[in-house]
């Protein structure tokens, strides 16, 4: 059913901390590992050991550089997966009813047996969160590990999305973003979490926490430390400076 539910009871999603992410790609691998064996069709790799390897992934980590004025450039690792949008355009364009948004928890899923592989939903998603599997020829996307979070056969600690469980830096948080009292909602409020491309009108559920401002360098209020100067000999330089240093070293 590709009409969107008016509201969902819960809004399960991820909060991703761009300050803490170290760009290790562990979540990418654990996502692939879990989802290639779990729900639905496996995530194929083609030409995996050849010259043009390519594969289906539900989560990818980009790395951006941003150059604030009067500050050194900052590097931000940027994990990206389906944001389980409230106004998911990928769902409404689907002609078959394969794509749908669950009214109980807001998770956006693909019923793979209905999918004709037309690719229209991947066009509709501005975030590039959907990839067509090259072997199964059906659309794959993040399921928020729907087969883990409600799974009573695995230990309670593990009942979170695989990426969240794996992240060694604790940069990924899972919870009900619709509930203002949940830990994730508090985190979003505290840290000023934001939406990606709000102008696309998708109302993403997943939120991103901004990198904290860079600490000013140890050299004083505004002046960055001049490291080159620290390497200079203490005396004025040139031959005399060298002599000064050499005599110092002699003791």
């Amino acid at each position: 059913m590709t009409q969107l539910p008016e509201t969902t009871e819960r809004k399960l999603g991820l909060v991703i901390d761009l300050d803490t992410c170290v760009g290790c790609h562990a979540c990418v691998i654990s996502c692939k590992e879990w989802n290639t064996g779990g729900y639905g069709a496996p995530l194929a790799d083609t030409d995996a050991y050849g010259s043009d390897p390519s594969g289906t992934f539900l989560n990818r980590v980009h790395t951006f550089e941003v150059k604030p004025e009067n500050q050194p450039a900052m590097v931000t690792h940027f994990p990206k997966s389906c944001l389980h949008c409230e106004d998911a355009p990928c769902v409404t364009v689907c002609p078959t009813g394969a794509s749908f948004k669950r009214s109980e928890d807001g998770i956006v899923l693909v019923h793979e047996d209905y999918c004709i592989g037309c690719g229209l939903c991947a066009w509709a998603c501005p975030y590039g969160a959907r990839e067509m599997d090259a072997v199964e020829r059906v659309m794959k996307k993040c399921t928020l590990c729907v087969d883990r979070i409600y799974n009573e056969n695995i230990p309670e600690d593990d009942r979170v999305p695989s990426c969240v469980r794996t992240c060694p830096a604790g940069a990924r948080h899972f919870g009900d973003i619709g509930d203002p009292d949940s830990d994730v909602s508090k985190l979003v409020a505290e840290r000023g979490g934001f939406d990606l491309m709000p102008e696309q009108g998708t109302k993403p559920v997943n939120k991103y926490l901004p990198p904290r401002p860079k600490q000013q360098s140890m050299g004083g209020e505004d002046e960055p430390v001049n490291l080159a100067a620290l390497a200079e000999p203490t005396a004025s330089g040139g031959f005399l400076g060298w002599l000064d240093g050499a005599l110092d070293r002699l003791g």
């Binding site: 009409q3 980009h62 790395t63 900052m74 409404t92 002609p95 229209l120 509709a124 102008e199």
Partner: protein
Amino acid sequence: MHPAYSVIFFTVSSGAGLGLLAFMGLGPFAVEDASTAFLLTAFGLGFAMAVGGLLSSTFHLGRPERAWRAMSQWRSSWLSREGVCAIATLIVAAIFAGLWLFFGLSSAFLGMVTTIFAMGTVWATGMIYLQIKAVDLWHRWLTPVCYLLFSLAGGMTLFIFIHALFTGKAGPELSSMAMVMLLIAWAVKMFWWMGANRAPTSTTESATGLGYLGKVRLLEKPHTGSNYLLRELGFQIGRKHAQKLRMIAVVLGAVVPILLILLAIPAPMDVLWLGLAVVSHLAGMLVERWLFFAEARHAVMNYY
């Protein structure tokens, strides 16, 4: 956006075929004492182009064997509406054509329904692209308008060619109608192209949410090889090439056919000229449709 040949061929072929069927739908008002050969050719070509295009469109599906499922979501999806409308058109047009051909009954009512459904199908095709907000170039009202006008212009050009083939003459009225339609369609298309230079809705800054800090640039791609997203959404032709191809599209699609139709009005060899006008127009449409995809930039490219 990746220009898939199956989709380009589909939209050009069914666009013109449905346009022709739409004009045949008006036949009961316009065509007196139509010969069986004329009806057979006109309906035959209209059906062949419409159905051929639709079949070709299933080649770009991952799972064509499930294509029938695409009829189910007409309440939200324009692709589904297009499918439903296409099937309805073919059924009504088949009844309309059958009655006319075999029983000499040209029902004005069935003709009108054929025309409306055929145009509805083309409109739905345009709406599929309009619906994609992530592609600025397509997300405009002029997009379905262009699809509709091109379908009418193509259908009319085909119609006068077949008409001339069996009656010996296209006639100045029908010929000028075709020329006006070609002119309008391509004029609107040029207007559509003019709007292609607007500032993008989304930028790398808004896509990462880091714009408040400063200028953002990609430092490392998330993958060393290619992937589905880059292959499907990442293709974009350079501006210089696009300019040249636009010229080629206009010359083949509009200038040459209009000159040939003009030439055909007094000429004795008019069928040949009109046939060439059809071929040239369709060739121009293929270039136009290729560009429609190749010039389009998808918002996901803000992450690359």
